[in-house]
Symmetry: C2
Subunit: 242 residues, 2 copies
DNA sequence: CCAAGTATACTTGTATACAAGTATTATAAA
DNA sequence: TTTATAATACTTGTATACAAGTATACTTGG
C-alpha cells in the first residue's frame, strides 16, 4: 500500500487556474523536489489516471513543463530532466541579467510609487516570517522582484520573467520551507538584502544595487543545499508509487 | 468571393512539425505581417474551420502565440495583440542583452570550432543573397545567431532565445523579402556586420563585438519600415476574409 | 539455445463530443 | 420608445474516441 501524498503546491494559489495549470504546478513541484526523479518517464495516460483527469489538461501541463526545461517531450513518453545545481546557477544568471537591465531603466524614471509598493511587500514578508509562513513568504519574495520588473513596462523582459518564474517560485518555495524551520535566522539577512535593494532603487545607486543583487545571489548556494535537504525530507517515511 | 492566399511561412521548414506548430507558424506570420490586424478576435472554432483541422492543434497553436505575446487569451476568443515598433525594439534589447552575456562567456572558452561553423553559415548567406533567396537568407541569419548562443551551453539563455526566436524569425523573414527586392545593396552591409561579428569572436575583442552588435541593432530601424511596406504589399489586391 | 518474425500492448497526435458559462439578440412589458 | 427578461448562438475547458506508429515480448522455425 502506498501512502497518500499531499499536494506540494499551495492549492489556494490556484483559485482560478485551469486543470492543466494545476497539474503543471503540482508536477513542477514534484520534479523540483525530487519526488519524481530525473530520468523518469511520464506517460500521458498514466498521469491522467494519477490526477484523475483526462489527457487534455495533462498534455497542456506537459507542454508547459517542457517549455520550462523540466521535461523533454519525446516519441514515447516525456523524460524528466529535473533541476540541477547548474540550472539554478543559470536561473540566477538570468535574474542578474534582467534585474540589472531593469535597474538601468529605473534610474531614468520616477520610482516613488514603486518604492512604496516594495516597502509594503517587505512588511508582508516580515509578518510571514514572524508567523513562520514559508509559503506566504515565498509568494511575497517572488512578488517583490516581479513588481520591480513590471515597473519598467518592458513586455519582453516581462516575458523572460514569466518563463523563469514558475521554476524559481517552486524552487524558492521548497527551500524556504526547510529554512524557516532549520535556519530561521537566515531570514534576517534576506530582509536586510531586500531593504538594501529598496534603498538602491530609491537613491538610484547603481553600486548599492549590484551589491544587494550579488548578496542575493550568494545566498543561493545555501538554497541549493536546502533543496537537497528538502528532497530527502520528502522521501523520508513515504512510499513512492510504482 | 475571397481570393485564396498562399502560406506566408515556408512550408519546407515544417517537414516534421505537428499540425499545431504549423498553424502557429502560419498564424504568427499572418499576425506579424498585418494580414490579421491587431485587435481582431480569433475563435478556436473559426480557426479550426479555416485551417481544416480540429480544435486540438488550434488550441496548441494559440497557447504558443500567447506565450509569444502575439495574442491574449481571454474568456471569449483570443485577442490579437500584434507586433508594434516598441515590441521590435524590445526584442532587440533582449538580443543585445543575451548576446552580450554570451560573448562574455565565449571569451573564456575555445571558439575555433564556432568560428569555423559561423564562417560556413556566412558563406551560405552569401549564396542566398546571390540567388535572391530571402527565405534561405533569413534561415541562415537566424541560425548564425543561434549557433553563437548555443556555443556556451547555457540552457536558460537558450530558453530565452527559444522564446524570442519564432517572432524574430517571422519578422526577419518578412522584412528580408521586401529588402531583397527593393534594397538589395543592404545585404552587403549585413554581411559585413556578420564578418565583423566573427572577427570579434575570433579575436575575443569586446569592443569589436559591441560595435558589430550595435550596427546590427541600428539596422533595425530600416527593418521596421520594411515591415510596414510588407504589410501594405500583402494587402494590395487581396481581399480579406470577413 | 538462438534468431527471425509476428502479435500485442503500449505511445502520442488529432478529431469529436459534451458541459458550463457568456454575450447578444429578440421579445415582451411598461 | 425604453427597459427588462428570456432564448439563442456563440465561447472555452475537459473528456473521450480513433488512428497511426513504436517498443516489447512471445512464438515459431531452425
Amino acid at each position: 500500500m502506498t501512502e497518500k501524498k499531499d499536494f506540494l503546491y499551495p492549492q489556494k494559489w490556484l483559485s482560478k487556474a485551469s486543470t492543466g495549470d494545476r497539474v503543471a504546478s503540482e508536477l513542477r513541484m514534484q520534479i523540483i523536489s525530487g519526488w519524481i526523479e530525473s530520468g523518469a518517464i511520464l506517460s500521458e495516460n498514466k498521469l491522467a489516471a494519477d490526477f484523475n483527469v483526462s489527457r487534455s489538461p495533462i498534455r497542456e501541463a506537459l507542454k508547459i513543463l517542457s517549455a520550462e526545461n523540466l521535461i523533454r517531450l519525446e516519441r514515447m513518453g516525456a523524460v524528466v530532466i529535473g533541476l540541477t545545481e547548474k540550472d539554478i546557477e543559470e536561473i540566477y544568471d538570468v535574474r542578474l541579467l534582467i534585474e540589472s537591465f531593469v535597474f538601468e531603466r529605473l534610474i531614468k524614471i520616477d520610482t516613488s510609487n514603486l518604492v512604496t509598493e516594495l516597502s509594503k511587500i517587505l512588511e508582508m514578508m516580515k509578518i510571514a516570517i514572524k508567523y513562520k509562513d514559508a509559503d506566504e513568504f515565498s509568494l511575497q519574495d517572488v512578488l517583490f522582484h516581479e513588481t520591480i520588473i513590471r515597473a519598467i513596462n518592458h513586455s519582453y523582459i516581462k516575458m523572460i520573467w514569466d518563463n523563469t518564474k514558475p521554476v524559481m517560485e517552486a524552487f524558492i518555495l521548497l527551500s524556504m520551507r526547510v529554512r524557516i524551520e532549520e535556519k530561521y535566522e537566515d531570514f534576517d539577512r534576506i530582509i536586510e538584502n531586500h531593504e538594501l535593494y529598496i534603498e538602491a532603487i530609491k537613491t538610484k545607486n547603481r553600486e548599492l544595487m549590484v551589491k544587494s543583487l550579488h548578496q542575493n545571489f550568494d545566498d543561493v548556494q545555501g538554497k541549493v543545499d536546502d533543496l537537497w535537504i528538502s528532497q530527502q525530507t520528502l522521501s523520508r517515511g513515504v512510499e513512492k508509487n510504482d
